[in-house]
Assembly symmetry: C2
Homo-oligomer: 436 residues x 2
């Protein structure tokens, strides 16, 4: 019966059987010490018997083995105990030395990232690296819990589309049984249509963007959380739902994964019970006054403003989360709702976290006639078959609704304090990388 690393200490004085990967081997005072890795962590094993030591001759890190030995308390060993008088069974020998070391603290320097991704399969055997993805999985779990509690129905919408209906040139095209199809950039149109059925829906799924760029912010395949909710009274209701969900998720992960976050040098969490909101105009004004760089004529936020306002809110309001709201109407998409109280702006808010936009949260235009007008104004062909079913949803009644497109990779990146969204992704894709 296999005992996992974290359970070994409970068996002091007893003989236990462990299985895992040879993670480290060293000689000390005539004894051979090995670390065995399993899904919970490491077990230190002391091998005295020469015949046992001999079994490891020529074997490298990664060798899959079983060990049986007596558990002794040892405060210096991982988990506070180690195996003595161990008998080994080599299950899968590894004879080649791996091209990268897997037992070192992770160092994600920008210049090393490409090597890291090239050896991702082995790099992920690093226990520190694994923590990133266990935190990621936990965050997804907390998000789903929150959304289920708030009556959002999980949906799966198609990624193979007849048309690049949402617009934008940055779509991947493919041949679909002789017909041209595109890969979904987002479930935008589908989630809006489904408000008419379920009122509240969400999806966590891959989204595909043929962006010919290789920045720290972009990938050609991302994991998006899409939310949409109907019967909202105003934009704030949408923003607060997304804000509260984020606060819940961050608080949970900082509570449940405190040790892992600490060992990854994640920043201390500074948030309040509500995400503070600033209009884009306010941010321009504040930033200009504080830095002397005049952004008041800018339409969008410049990246340095995103950093600055998060830093400002952290210091002044105790929140690293900020909503930037009321984007200028020039930046609107056809499905956005123009602010009825100020038609120079749209009811669209970006959620910023530690200097990075992680979600876009607009209110939608839900009146058929107005939507058709906005589509025409945006130069779209409303008779195009790609819009037929979308427009049908509005024609037969959609309540006021809003939601968000939320970058899961970005959330994980910023939670841990990484510098590149790719570091929060198992197998990142960009213009330069399509494998592993």
């Amino acid at each position: 019966m296999r005992v996992l690393s974290s359970e070994v200490k409970k068996h002091v004085g007893q003989s236990v059987h462990i299985e895992g990967w040879l993670h480290k081997k060293r000689l000390l005072g005539g004894l051979t010490f090995i670390n065995v890795r399993d899904r919970r962590g490491l077990v230190q094993v002391v091998i005295q018997d020469k015949a046992e030591v001999e079994k490891l001759r020529g074997l490298q890190v990664g060798t899959v083995l079983a060990a049986t030995g007596t558990v002794k308390e040892e405060p210096r060993a991982p988990g506070g105990a180690e195996l003595h008088d161990a008998k080994l069974t080599v299950l899968v020998p590894v004879t080649d030395e791996p091209p990268i070391e897997v037992d070192k603290p992770i160092q994600h320097k920008a210049e090393n990232l490409d090597t890291l991704f090239e050896h991702r399969v082995l790099n992920l055997r690093n226990l520190q690296e694994q923590k990133i993805f266990k935190i990621r999985a936990a965050q997804l779990r907390y998000i789903r819990e929150f959304l289920t509690d708030h009556e959002f129905v999980e949906i799966q919408t198609p990624k193979l589309l007849a048309e690049a209906a949402e617009g934008g040139a940055e779509v991947f095209k493919l041949d679909y049984f002789g017909q041209e199809a595109t890969l979904a950039q987002s479930p935008q149109l589908y989630k809006q249509m489904l408000v008419g059925a379920f009122e509240r829906v969400y999806e966590i799924a891959p989204a595909f963007r043929a962006e010919p760029s290789a920045t720290t912010r972009h990938m050609s395949e991302v994991t998006m959380l899409d939310i949409e909710m109907g019967f909202v009274q105003n934009h704030d209701e949408v923003l607060d739902m997304v804000g509260d969900m984020t606060i819940h998720t961050l608080r949970q992960v900082y509570k449940e994964h405190a040790d892992d976050l600490k060992s990854l040098n994640a920043p201390e969490l500074v948030i309040t019970d509500k995400v503070p909101k600033f209009t884009v105009a306010e941010i321009h004004k504040k930033y200009t006054a504080a830095t002397g760089t005049d952004t008041t004529q800018e339409k969008d936020l410049i990246p340095d403003e995103e950093r600055w306002i998060c830093e400002y809110a952290r210091k002044e309001l105790g929140s690293e989360l900020v909503f930037a709201t009321d984007f200028p109407v020039e930046a609107m998409k056809f499905y956005h709702q123009i602010n009825p109280e100020d038609p120079t702006t749209v009811l669209w808010g970006d959620l910023l976290f530690r200097g990075l936009e992680i979600a876009t949260c607009p209110l939608r235009e839900n009146h058929y006639d107005k939507l058709v007008e906005q589509m025409k104004k945006a130069g779209l062909d409303v008779d195009h078959p790609g819009y037929k079913h979308y427009l049908q949803a509005f024609k037969y009644g959609l309540p006021q609704h809003g939601g968000c497109g939320y970058g899961i990779d970005r959330l994980v990146e910023k939670t841990i304090g990484l510098n590149n969204v790719k570091e929060a992704t198992l197998f990142p894709r960009d213009i330069n990388r399509l494998s592993p």
Copy 2:
């Protein structure tokens, strides 16, 4: 403050405000009765006042409205109460009659399915239809709970691949910044690679198959649950994990959604604590003896055998879930493990539920040398860059492992007792359908 339909009865004697869609309108004894739909169900509203009735003139099902009225108990109304003396506010008028009715019991006759999918956006406003997708979401939740409890780490693997590395001609191809890429048919190679890191992983994600068919079993985009677990002693450990997960999920959904399943005419659940196992040879023998049709020379199960063995197990063993194991070696894929005790078979089991294969659960060959040999035998080029990282994982040590590819759409279909996998899918895709 909006009161949801299921809460109305708690407010008998009080005035409440509801919001939703006009779902039905009828005249009875000089009074106008309307049903208002929201995300929880229906509220019946009685409108006496002529001016209020007038507000609905010319308005059709789908109209978004608010109603304020006094709650009276009424056993014949949905939820056991209705609103009286209602005042209406039309939020979004619908003036066109919808092309399909949404307040009827669902009738998924094979010949109607195409019309149903063409009007899917409106069809999903049918409360019965919605139950299918609420059950689907619940099943996904129970699956994730089970897997989290068993220490599986949720992963997201890329859908854009450099090569059709798993083999098979049925892949979609696309242009990836000037390079040829394919869409993932499954996360097969990635989940195996990740066993080397996390031991136990799972993913729920779309998978893409360019199968030029339009059957009741196949779609070109499916939702797959992929599981992989390392350090297993034998094939049974994998089968039991997948079997136990399925039993957990079915018992949960039959417990928590009993009323919905009943109203959808779902079959009664007949399962035991362990999924029974039969070898393919045993099934051939039993089927031949029982039906007189000789299948003992067949390599695979024929569809009628899948139905027959599930029916047999239901009657004889009280289980509609069956594992068919030990498939003939002729059917093997390069990554399967040949049965060491009988090299004419592979350690591969199919999970059948109510006559349909819902999951494929093999044990993998985990020794680098043997795997390379099997790949060569299968005619694959082991030096192809598409296999580089996959083979690296084995070269540097992978324990014995196995898992499954599990069709979520098929699970939902059979849970509810539908006849076509597309009925369990929001927006199905096949050779004939790429929209909505």
